[in-house]
Symmetry: C2
Subunit: 402 residues, 2 copies
């Protein structure tokens, strides 16, 4: 054991007799207390639950690629946390009715957004990961709904979620980011099951969570007359940087062979995703010219596998990207793009897209099925679609886990 491995070092001579002997006493006394505490209700209730590990793993899996849905009101990924929590609780309680599961997911997702709005922007700015913090509380409420908890049990579930929720934004760019979603999913699932079993907590837990976690306590977040916040959930249709999405959507309107193209985008994106000549698949994810060339050449920008080193070095795409200019335009929002196209026949066209424009359910369904086919293949996509329409829980979880 080399001393440089340890933040708190032992003395150079190794641990002295004093502290080690003392800790041995602490271990002895701790064991006595643990044995004495074994029959306490909280210990007995906890010992029954071992089956929320799936929420941790599914929560992490669903956010591992950052390709899942986002809600920009509070800035969080709701499904990444709520879905695995609800599925884990359904599995634990043998609730197989997909209608009930979907309804619980709706309540959980709406509650996550509203909790995030109640916490407000300070909470996010100081460094908390809304996906995880408001996600855990939303997930707890979704699971509470699934379990049909009593008001007192719901209070206990919220209090336990408040004391168990965590997640820092500094984890972005590390495995800690998807793990935050997994931890939040497990938290939401566990606390609902614990509350059902009779575990108690501070009824003012959420209020204290707000006070400790830089919340703004925006009371309007709970306004019941407001329309469903979840209606503005945003899905990702392209497996690349968000700054490229409006442009890629606009390019769906291209009608012929392009001879020249100018992409106009918000100035902020120019330093984020305007790599002119990326050398790797990862680089392509941050390149207007390359992703535009892919779209023009019929390469799926929805498929994760498209963003390969081979794509970065594809000569046809490299030739095509030479015809594309990218220009900042501060009259556009960050969610908008405008593309001026000149076709080989000499005609011109201006295409625009605004990511904030509402999608009809029909269009959203069509696009998500296209994405699913690009990501997991047509067969699995069809099976998933059938499962979520009204299949059994077992079918869905088997598809996801296997």
């Amino acid at each position: 054991m080399s001393p440089e491995n340890h933040l708190i070092q032992l003395s150079q001579d190794g641990p002295t007799a004093g502290p080690v002997d003392l800790i041995r006493l602490c271990l002895f006394d701790w064991a006595v207390c643990a044995i004495a505490g074994r029959d306490e209700p909280v210990s007995q209730l906890l010992a029954k639950f071992t089956d929320t590990q799936s929420a941790l793993i599914l929560g992490t899996m669903g956010h591992a690629l950052d390709y899942d849905d986002t809600h920009f009101d509070h800035i969080g990924h709701t499904s990444a946390v709520v879905m695995p929590a609800v599925l884990a609780v359904a599995e634990a309680q043998k609730i197989t009715d997909m209608t009930r599961i979907v309804e619980a997911a709706l309540i959980g997702s709406e509650a996550a957004v509203r909790t995030g709005l109640w916490l407000g922007r300070d909470h996010y700015q100081i460094g908390f990961h809304q996906t995880a913090t408001s996600g855990a509380i939303g997930a707890a409420l979704g699971c509470a709904h699934l379990l049909n908890l009593t008001p007192t049990q719901i209070q206990n579930a919220i209090g336990l979620a408040a004391t168990g929720a965590s997640g820092l934004k500094g984890q972005f760019g590390t495995m800690g980011k998807p793990l935050n979603a997994g931890l939040a999913a497990r938290c939401g699932a566990e606390v609902a099951l614990w509350a059902l079993a009779g575990i108690t907590s501070d009824p003012a837990g959420l209020t204290q969570f707000g006070a400790t976690h830089h919340g703004q306590a925006n009371a309007t977040a709970w306004d019941r007359t407001e329309p469903w916040k979840i209606a503005r959930i945003s899905h990702k249709f392209h497996a690349c940087c968000h700054g490229l999405h409006a442009m890629l959507e606009a390019l769906a309107g291209v009608t012929g062979e392009v001879s020249a193209m100018t992409i106009h985008t918000h100035p902020r994106w120019m330093t984020v995703c305007n790599q002119p000549a990326p050398m790797t698949g990862l680089g392509v994810k941050f390149s207007y010219a390359m992703t535009a060339a892919m779209a023009l050449n019929g390469v799926s920008t929805a498929a994760i596998s498209s963003f390969s080193d081979a794509t970065a070095n594809d000569t046809a795409l490299i030739t095509l990207r030479g015809k594309i200019l990218v220009k900042p335009d501060n009259t556009l929002t960050e969610m908008q793009a405008r593309v001026d196209v000149t076709y080989t026949n000499g005609s011109t066209q201006t295409l625009t897209h605004d990511l904030e424009a509402p999608l009809t359910l029909e269009t959203r369904t069509k696009r998500l099925k296209q994405k699913a086919r690009a990501v997991v293949g047509a067969d699995l996509s069809d099976q998933l679609w059938t499962a979520v329409q009204g299949g059994t829980l077992a079918t869905l979880t088997a598809l996801v886990n296997n």
Copy 2:
């Protein structure tokens, strides 16, 4: 499903088609993302670990009665979190050498206190439960030591602990309090195992944790030239309110039959634990007169079972407590008591005790063995003692779990 059960209500007509259909789409898309994320390293690494549930349960058990040790520097219960974390990791990695386990527990306990000192009093005052927050980080470092992690792995473990640590003080008085210890123990154990497996995190995680969690960043907390902070760990020898302990220790000096007694204590305690005539065992835990009478009559104040309704209604004790006065004295600290005793032979004696006076290892050992016998019986106490002196991990965990 009655609508009053739910914080976020569905509309009176039940959920409209829009949001439910939308959430079904979200579930479909989430499943696609989860399947696509299944092969990501973080998902694969996580799926291997399912064995830290024992840390959650043992962590909760050990703090369920609040009879475990306390460190007053940062105000936290260190063993409640560190011991179960280290034992769970040892079990998961089949590390059976008790010398290594005890050394890891020492590092973890010291790190918990120092993390708490680094966070400072603001963190505690605003509402965080130091036992759980600094405990999780200390436990992670103890487990990191046990696993002999590399410096990079230690950084990852700390970062993961920072994003996973939680716990609110508002849970005091509910099952949420011991559960906070359990959650922290599981967090510490998990993050060390995850870091060993290669899960990455924000290397500045602890710094961000301090910034988000009202930390004072007291750099002196990390001073390596300081003596072991853990040397001032405080054990509980009486199964009742802390305000009674100095008085009960002073009464060990009583030498004969008492005819009258006046207990002097810090004024703060007069409103906390001076129930003159409690009717229940719980009330006895907050009564100077009754616990003093118990001590004078040879009833163990270390045994949890002594604090029963029968004790509250014991006529001999009720007679004896009539001879006892309790008075506030603001020249005493909260940790001190003074007792003026008059014996039946007319002689008088003044007994004092200061809980902050250091205990020799010998005295502490003797007292903890007495406590253990009172709480779990002589046989189990002896077996535990042998196990922590150098027995195997299996022996210890079998004794605690069975």
